[in-house]
Amino acid sequence: MRLAVIGVGAVGRAVAEFADSYGHEVTAIADSTGATVESAGVDVSAALAHKDDTGAVGDDDPADALAADYDVLIEATPTTLGDAQPGFDHVRAALERDRHAVLANKGPVAERYGELRALERDSDGSVRFDAAVGGAIPILPTIRDVGAARVSGVRGVLNGTANFVLSRMAAEGLAYDHVLAEAQDLGVAEADPSFDVEGTDAALKCVILANVLANGEREFTLSDATVEGIRDLPGSALELAAEDGRTVRLIGEATREGVRVGPRLVPEHGPLAVAGTLNVAQIDAEHAGRLSLSGRGAGGPETATAVLADVGRLG
């Protein structure tokens, strides 16, 4: 497959780097300020070196990447809320040209699911977004294998930053602010951690799950979700939980009826109490019972494996 990689953050970069070893070729790569377009195959190392030196991945116009010769557009720009731009227009451009689109970007799938599916119906290309939920963990593939109609709900820890903060507060008896600052130093939390600690990121993933479960019968966006974050949760709450054999985790729940995200009490040694930045999802399936999947829910190389698995499924 010939790939146009749009967005050169940790995920886009890793997809471009791994493409060759997965048997694919990058014919265009673009960030917000520049692009390299080469139908014979982009020299990925050179393009990434160019970005490291100059801040841009090449001297071409980013718009040229959308018009380039490719089979699959990889949408890996930052997640935006509301109109989900520019990611949504990138995907639209691909589908209107009857090309496939694989998203790591949650925005278009969470905020404009119906429109995205409508564009797909009118296109010979298809849309895949397994990488948008749970990074390397095959949550959506498992739901697909079980059959979305047989899944009554999904719940779990879907944000590694919030989980790092909560698990470290519990383990070390440290205050929220202290652990957050630590997480920022380690690069686990962003300078502005709102998206993670206020539950928005986990909620977007749950909204995507709810959209998949509802299968068009109902459409969800972030505004339909009940979301509470972990900001300023006191250490005393974690202490009281621990005295009772429990701990607190930021739990997201998705069903056909709705989405809820908030700090919840879970058994201290139960499957939902994953440590550090790990994520876990529990899928409640008819006949199969409860399936628990855990692993790395974020990270460039990890998420890139899910993107490339999606590309592989387009075959």
Binding site: G153, R155, T226, S236, E253, L265
Partner: protein
């Protein structure tokens, strides 16, 4: 049907409500009634006559005991001594009392409240929860502020009748919101959004 279905199938919705006091308990009475007109009224009269506050009546439609009787579960609020009288009077009236008072709070759920939960407020809060949530608070643990500017927390274990836990937690959520407290709810085993 020998009795009014509108009442019978309203499990979990109190027929009447009142504030409980320290002297008031809530009890479940399990009865077996003959499938005859007037049976339910006969069973409820001793409760009313003794000042028992009827919280709910539960009957699973179509369910019969092996002897063809109708199992009915009644939740009653009353002082403990009155409750004994209620049970005695029920038996005296020929009502088949299978079990009394044992199964009222068969499910427990833990919540943590975060915020200004100072002692005085807490006891008022607890009585509100007990009177509104159809639950008893059977365990309370409170932390003092740790001097790091973080608010205090309280852990409550609520015991509620089977099937009433969700309602009890929802009530706690409402009460906590009014008191400007955060609630960290237990994720129940089958719980989903």
């Amino acid at each position: 049907m020998p009795y009014d279905e509108r009442i019978i199938h309203h499990r979990g919705i109190p027929v009447t409500s009142s504030g409980s006091t320290d002297q008031t308990g809530t009890y479940t009475v399990r009865l077996e009634l003959a499938d005859e007109p007037g049976e339910l009224l006969r069973a409820l009269t001793p409760i009313a006559d003794n000042g028992g506050n009827l919280l709910s009546i539960y009957h699973e439609r179509g369910r019969l005991t092996p002897r063809g009787r109708i199992p009915v579960e009644v939740d009653v609020e009353s002082p403990p001594d009155r409750f004994e009288t209620i049970v005695e009077d029920l038996r005296a009236a020929g009502v088949n009392v299978i079990r009394a008072g044992e199964e009222r709070y068969s499910e427990a759920v833990t919540v943590i409240l975060v915020g200004e939960v100072i002692d005085a407020d807490l006891s008022a809060l607890l009585s509100r929860i007990e009177s509104c949530a159809g639950a008893t608070v059977d365990e309370v643990a409170v932390t003092a502020p740790r001097g790091d500017g973080e608010p205090a927390s309280a852990r409550l274990r609520l015991a509620a009748a089977e099937g009433r836990v969700e309602t009890a937690v929802a009530t706690v959520r409402t009460i906590a919101e009014e008191a400007d407290l955060r609630v960290v709810e237990e994720l129940t085993a089958g719980g989903s959004a």
